[in-house]
Amino acid sequence: MNPLKGIITIPRNIFIQLMLAAVLMGVAVIGQSYLIVIIVDRIFLQGNPFAAVIPLLGILLGMLVLRVGVTYWNGRLGTSLAARVKQDLRQALVAKYTRNSVESMLEGQSGQKVSILMDSVDEMDSYYSQYLPKVIQTSIVPLMVLIAAFSYDWVTGLVMMITAPFIPLFYIVIGIMTQKRADTQLEKMNAFSGTFLDTLQGLTTLKLFGRAKAQQDVIERSSLDFRDATLTVLKLAFLSSLMLEFISMLSMGMIALEVSLRLILFQSITFVPAFLMLVLAPEYYLALKEMGAAFHTGRGSVAAAKQIAAELTEDDRSVAFGRTELPAARPPRIELKDVAFSYRDARFAMEQLNLTIEPYQKVALIGRSGAGKSTVLQLLAGLADPQDGQLLLDGQDRQTITESSWFSQLSYISQHPYLYAGTLADNIAIGELREASRPAIEQAASDAGLTELIAQLPNGLDTVIGEGGRGLSGGEKQRVALARAFLKRPNVILFDEPTTGLDVKTERLLQEAMTVLGREATVITVAHRLHTIEQSDQIVVLEAGRIVDRGTHEELLGRESEYAMMRAVQRGEETR
């Protein structure tokens, strides 16, 4: 029933403790009932003085304390187990995610992954803290009660045994009968309950068109429809508990009838076993009903468990590295050799990709969106592994090189640099740059054109910039990324050029910075700027995952290439 079987193993000793708790619970339940019966019998029928039952009352109090103690212990075990499982699951998921390559992290919705890590894991709580202990308890306690009943009065035992299967049976039958109706209602419920959020989200639009007031009726109507749909489902659930109530009530009534008739008419039973049966019966049926309810709780967690299991068992798409150090004296010669790569959702498949980049070369990757420019950049960066073929660095397979020696000579400047919660200085001196001296950081900041911003900030370089770098504009974030590069002085720079929206100053700054940094480095750019493209040593034109052309600006213009055509159209538009 639990898809996480095999992923999460529950320690044996916790299982044993849960069983032990269940057995003790059974002892406490039976002991409590027995002692109450005996005390009533002594006082009522045998006319003993009060003093005679005081020791029994003492033992009874002990039993009650034991019962509560076991309840507490059981709850503790469940809560601790749930805490442990949640922590293990999160750790496993995070380990899985951090092992994965960048492309598979960026692929698909990261929102969904966040929700699995947060909500789905939280939803597993009730499974381990409620369901599991309950199932163990409700499968042991009724059994013990049944044995106790049999040993005192086999007739009642028999009644209990015969009626017991009806309870789970009814649960299953009613469940099957109502599932389909419940499902159709559930869809309706989702649609109705979404209306409120949908309306709130569109409130600005509604107000601009003067429709906000009218929408109130829509909310009311859909909420009432939601109520009716929900009640239809709930009525089914209530009906099933009504039936269960009937069954347990009938059974208990049967027991009461049977023992009292035998007590009076046939006198084949005495007061003590008769009363004991009467006290044990509710405990027995209550436990059975709880088992049904527990299954209900358990079912709720299954969907979440499935999601987590699917995430954990998905194939790893990690990027392999090796043990050879890559010398850092100068940029390596970078070579993609017969590289193949495709995405899981298969927008295109890259095949037979070959590209050589000499040290200090300036390379521009161009093409329409979706042509595979970013993918090539990820492959070159070692953020994704080719599914076939190799990335060679100075003739050595990248997979044989150490991760740190490669990444420490690489800078990747994207349109959305990551800024973490911390001071601006910390954000510039990220990673292995942490050792950098204060003057070096200040120099890097000024090289990246951050001086003006720093002067505006209340604590200068030591101003804390918010989570995700809130409070900085897009251009300012880009400059922080540049400052990182100035501090790092990388051998290889990968640069995803912004398409629009940068202010003129940042634009100029980026260009200058790239020129300065490019003196000591190989620069590979996903290029949107004519300036970058025209000055490249090599322009690589991509289309649907293939390299359709390459050469310098002059070479490409000189022949009837895709590039020449695109340039012509661009010119045409500018002059129109």
Binding site: G75, M118, T204
Partner: protein, 572 residues
Amino acid sequence: MKELMGIFRLMLHQKRDIVLSIIFGVLAGITAVGLFAASGFLISKAALLPPIQTLAVLIALQKISSLTRAVSRYAERYYSHRATFTILSDLRTTFYKRLEPLVPGIFAKYRSGDLLARIVGDVESLQNTFLRVVYPPIILVLVFLCTIFFVSFFSLSVALVLVFGLILTGFIIPGWFAYREQRFARSVRARRGELSTEVTELFQGYRDLKIYQQLGNKEAELNAVAARYVAEEKRNGLHAVSNLALNTLATLVISWIVLGLGAYLVADGQLDGVFLALLVMTSLTVFENAAPMAILPGFFEDSRHAARRLDDVVEATTAPEYRPFELAQAPELSTEHVTFTFPGQDRPVLRDVSVTFPAGSKTAIVGASGSGKSTLLQLLLRMYPADGIRIEGTPGQEINPEALWKQSNVVLQQNHFFYGTIRDNLKLASSEATDEQMIEALEHVGLSLLELDDRVLEKGENLSGGEKQRLAIARIFLRQTPLYLLDEPTSSVDALTEQTILQHLFARAADATLLLVSHRLAGLETMDQIVVMEQGQVVEVGTYADLMAKQGAFYALKQVEQSVFTPDQLVR
């Protein structure tokens, strides 16, 4: 408690269902007590070998009460849940009524998109207030009172013990735990927030973390934060476990006292022994009604928290009274020394902006992203309050925003589309629009492929960015107004389609005042004026020819734009 006054008031609207559920709830409670008391009495009586008729009556009584109990329980559940969901519906509409006047101004304060999801969640958690917080004590007290009344016929002292039990399990223990719950719940929420931030950071910064080889550190940090959250949750869980255990202990000990006291009274001759079993069974059963009290503190705290957060959002703001505002023809708009900072931010988005948009003029506002173009447009629209705005000479503060919007055609960067059909979404703009008019509007934005009956999913998620923009423009083609305010209406539309759409737009708006925030600088030659913004300030105003001749900020922007290679825009 005062936070919950609003929801209490809503509960009063559901009197009928609430009264019915209380009646059936109490009935179910006392028949259960009666049932078990009867079986205790039955067996005691049986032991004394009574005539069989007595027994038959007792057994019949027992059957009737068990039937009554099961049926009442069903009715109780039905009515209490119906009340709950009707209250939810009322909650939504009342909250909507309070929130509606504050939009969109409120989004200046809460810019995060999850504000709305939070509101929905909080409203939903308030629905539990009735069923889990208010209802259980009522049933508990009523069933107890009936039982105590019944027991007092047999023994006053046992009745007194039950009174004590009621106070202990119904009020003292839950009250104490509710008090402690406050602190726990708050720290669990805080820790969850921390974890959520860490997780989001991991995903957003994944590439940079990898290249700077910080993934290991981040993973360790995240696991530590997760452990803190789980530990806090565990503490909270253990707190609930001990609450439950303590409550159970109290009920069991009370029943124990009843047994001991009863035994003493019987032995002492003050009570007939045949009632002893009855009293014990009664006590054991009546405390079943105290079980929901164990989870009450948690729900109470949730409700209070939700109510407080909702109140914070719609904090007592009264809508001001406005004089009627009519735009006879194209208005003149102007700003004088407008400076604007979003609440909670330290840097102003607009600084000392003074600009005039003459009646009937066509103005383009251009500049880098983040330069304040959209904010300027939104302030002119009175979406957020600001000083220094004038429309036809009337100060902005005196103009009813809703009256202004009614007479404007607005396209924002984010336009909402509702779950429904294309027709539903177009009719928002004009309920009188005929199918022919709507089809024509769709044609003008190049969406004639769409049928009016085509389905639109929530937030228009089955439409592409360009389709959404074009649909938003189609909406304003259904209305004729003297004022057009457009914020990058065609940024995701290809150049050729953009041109045809804008042509039609300008033809329709020939007599209107029009402001167009533009992401592109091409095609602005015919505008009456171009306003160039940079870092929240207006740096240049003039016609295309003026600005190009001046070789200033606009010219520089133009240079940048021309340097961008855009194969997507060109070949499609």
